[in-house]
């Protein structure tokens, strides 16, 4: 039972993150990746800036791992979130989960991204080509008033 959690400033390595969850006894690996889109409501996004309350973010990511293990029989879980400037088309988060059977890892990866978006303290600012910018708000965030 292994949980790997990281918040890092550099580019996420899909191959490496996936390899941390493979094991000779696990047949299925599900991976979910969020890439940064180049537009929002028709405005062209120039770049993205992420910041995190790093120790709490990691703590909450470990809590997500534990919640997954309470619900599904999975083997290994890896999740890495990138912070700092993230160029358009690059990944901001990669979640990889292995399980003996595919149903578990597929359901778990979906739960993982839903829950990360709801409870992990990370913030994204979209910076548009017209130099305006906006802090985004996940719809999964329960204390968002609107």
């Amino acid at each position: 039972m292994e949980n790997h959690v990281e918040v890092r400033e550099n580019k996420l390595d899909l191959e490496k993150i996936t390899s941390t969850v493979t094991s000779p006894s696990c047949g299925a690996v599900s991976v979910f990746i969020v890439y940064q889109r180049n537009n929002f409501d028709g405005k062209r996004v120039k770049t993205l800036e992420y910041e995190a309350y790093i120790p709490m973010a990691k703590k909450k990511m470990f809590e997500v791992c534990q919640q997954i293990r309470d619900k599904w029989e999975v083997e290994k879980i890896a999740m890495e979130h990138r912070i700092g400037l993230v160029p358009v088309t690059e990944a901001s988060i990669i979640i990889a989960i292995s399980s003996p059977h595919r149903k578990e890892s597929l359901e778990a990866v979906q739960y993982a991204i839903d829950t990360v978006k709801a409870i992990v303290p990370v913030w994204k600012k979209e910076i548009y080509e017209d130099e305006s910018s906006q802090w985004k708000e996940n719809k999964e965030c329960y204390w968002k008033s609107s």
Partner: protein, 82 residues
């Protein structure tokens, strides 16, 4: 004295990343938030849209809060990770 951390929009509005402030050692969530808003009035525009964390865990809006010297409070606007 507790440490207070500001992130994202709350950091931009307060103008600081972190500070040390004096708050009541026993209070409600609402008291604590009001106290922080008094000391950082620029946060008023997002006051309906903030949660507080104490030592890396979210505080419930209807909770009573016991604070100790050196505790870490974070002002957390709506998150947008993932």
């Amino acid at each position: 004295m507790v440490n207070i951390l500001f992130f994202a929009k709350s950091r931009e509005l307060s103008g600081v990343n972190s500070a040390q402030i004096t708050v009541l050692s026993q209070c409600t969530f609402t008291n604590l938030l009001e106290n922080i808003l008094q000391q950082y009035p620029s946060l008023a525009v997002i006051s309906e849209n903030i949660i507080l964390a104490l030592n890396e865990d979210y505080l419930s809006k209807d909770s009573d809060v016991n604070l100790q010297e050196g505790d870490e409070i974070a002002v957390i606007p709506p998150i947008s990770g993932g």
